[in-house]
């Protein structure tokens, strides 16, 4: 359960201060499938960074599963990212010199998981995302859709609470993008909380709930009725 209360974020200080988030109140329950929308500069990426522990809020409180994370230091934030968040990026961000399996294993390295278990979990997830035959391939030998599947397997490997996807279909053609959305939908059906940041209506329409930001405030929060 994610609970944001009066979250603000300001870059810079004094007369140069730029408020990006101006008081966000938001609750996302376990197993929800949410899209965060808004034009560029609306603060949606900043909101995602705060939810994903990549950035700290300037004001307000953020609690995950009932725990206030305001007091966390840098090392604890790294641990929270590692255990609770699975990131999926628009540009995939796979490590170019590692094969698919090693890329998926990377978060487990930082979690201190044994080599044998790392390998088992990575291979299992690559099979789940339909890349059983590609485990030894380098990212340069994979198509865009396959790269994003590797990235999703990597996001899942630490069994996180939340999958945070930032424009996951932005660099893919519409057919491949649809397949990736199917995969994310399936993960949500299995119980994962999935949060997608997007500016595409079609993508947002696949989710159950759409939150719209404008100028650092939530201007709309609605259920999707299919």
């Amino acid at each position: 359960m994610i609970r944001l209360s009066q979250i603000t974020k300001t870059y810079g200080s004094g007369s140069l201060a730029v408020p990006v988030l101006r008081g966000i109140d938001l609750e996302i329950g376990d197993g929800e499938f949410v899209a965060i929308m808004g034009p560029s500069g609306s603060g949606k990426s900043t909101l995602m960074n705060i939810i994903g522990f990549l950035d700290k809020q300037t004001g307000g409180t953020y609690s995950l599963n009932g725990e206030d994370v305001k007091q966390a230091n840098e090392k604890q934030l790294a641990g929270l990212r590692n255990r609770h968040i699975g990131f999926v990026f628009q540009q995939f961000f796979l490590l170019p010199r590692l094969n698919a399996q090693k890329n998926v294993e990377t978060p487990l390295l930082y979690a201190g998981v044994s080599k044998k278990e790392r390998s088992e979990r990575a291979l299992g997830l690559l099979e789940k995302v339909g890349l059983k035959e590609r485990t030894g391939h380098l990212p340069s030998e994979l198509s865009g859709g396959q790269k994003q599947r590797v990235a999703i397997a990597r996001a899942l490997v630490n069994q996180p609470t939340v999958i945070l996807a930032d424009e996951p279909t932005g660099a893919l053609d519409s057919k491949t993008g649809a397949q990736i959305m199917e995969l994310l939908t399936e993960l949500n059906r299995e119980g994962k909380t999935v949060i997608i940041v997007t500016h595409e209506e079609e993508i947002a329409a696949c989710t159950d709930r759409i939150i719209v930001l404008r100028d650092g405030l939530i201007v709309d929060d609605r259920k999707v009725t299919s």
């Binding site: 790294a78 990212r81 010199r97 930082y110």
Partner: protein, 405 residues
Amino acid sequence: MNVRESFALALSSIWNHKIRSILTMLGIIIGVSAVIIVVAIGDGARQQMADDLFSTDENAIPLYFEQTTYEENGEMMWVEPPAVTGEQLDAVKEVAGVKYVLGTNSGWGTMNHNEHTADMEIIGVDNQYFIAKDLTLLEGRRLNTRDNDSYSRVAMIDSLTRENMFAADEEAVGAIIDINDNPYKVVGVYESTLPPEFRHMDEFSNGQMLMPRTLISMMFGSPEIDTINVIADQPDNLTETGFAAAEKLTELTGSEEGMYVAEDMSAYVEEFDSFYMTITLFISSIAGISLLVGGIGVMNIMLVSVTERTREIGLRKALGATRGQILRQFLIESVTLTSLGGLIGIGFAALVTAVAAVFLPFTPIINPVVVIVGILFSSMIGIVFGILPANKASKLSPIDALRYE
């Protein structure tokens, strides 16, 4: 991520930039190998010199006569060394620290036996020589006091002469040999102590011979004692003992125109050591500069690497890497780079010294301590010059790093 995984990651990163890594390591390679090579050559030369100086007897120091008066009535004067007697040497033996005093003389004779002819050195000795030099008797008996007192026409041959001039089944003890056309009787055979390099020389290839020194004096008209060696109880006190013995002998002979002195061979070694120390310091400071420049090169390339991999660092942080883990990854990478440079430097030094051994008149000796210090030092350079880039990497904010193009 444990240290072994970080290390494997570092190696693969170095391997992926082979040329860049080699160029970066060059300063370390040159620095480490220069120090090892210079020390190896110096140690080799020193060892060779010590071998040459002390080849006869490490425990013996020669006494020789040095004239102190050079002129008489405005003319150059040559002072004859005083005749030294066996009794005087026995008195010198009483000086503290002296174990033996060996008074010998020598001559060169042509030996004829079984149609073999050989020129060889004959050392004139007394009864103490055999024990003092710790010679091994193979056949027959040693020379004794009576041989000297009665000018006995007897000789001891060494194992080389036995081998080269006698038939294997021939009885050597009791054989009559011919030296300078006069007959002498062989009374014993001893194990040759000629160093291997002497045995290749023509004049020593057939060995040496021992005879009573009184007999040599009579045969060649030379003094009974013309070479004096002092053997000390303790090799460490050799020089001091030699000086004391020389003083005693000067007093006993009562010469007013000269004195006995001990040749202080350790002085040569000390002189070489100080010269060699100067050279080592000089080369080491150049090597130190090379290592410093090499270290700066490593730092530079690590900073480039951090910049190039900004996005990788951001991603690793997003996936849960802590600052400490990123710092460690880059630090291990720079230490691996410099240690590898150190190892290559050691390999290069081994190669150069092996080739140098072929051309130099001595064999360079690689000092294991220098090798270990070289490895430790190059690793240390990796830490010192890797801290700044690694710290920079660890401080990158994951959002900025991921956004970096």
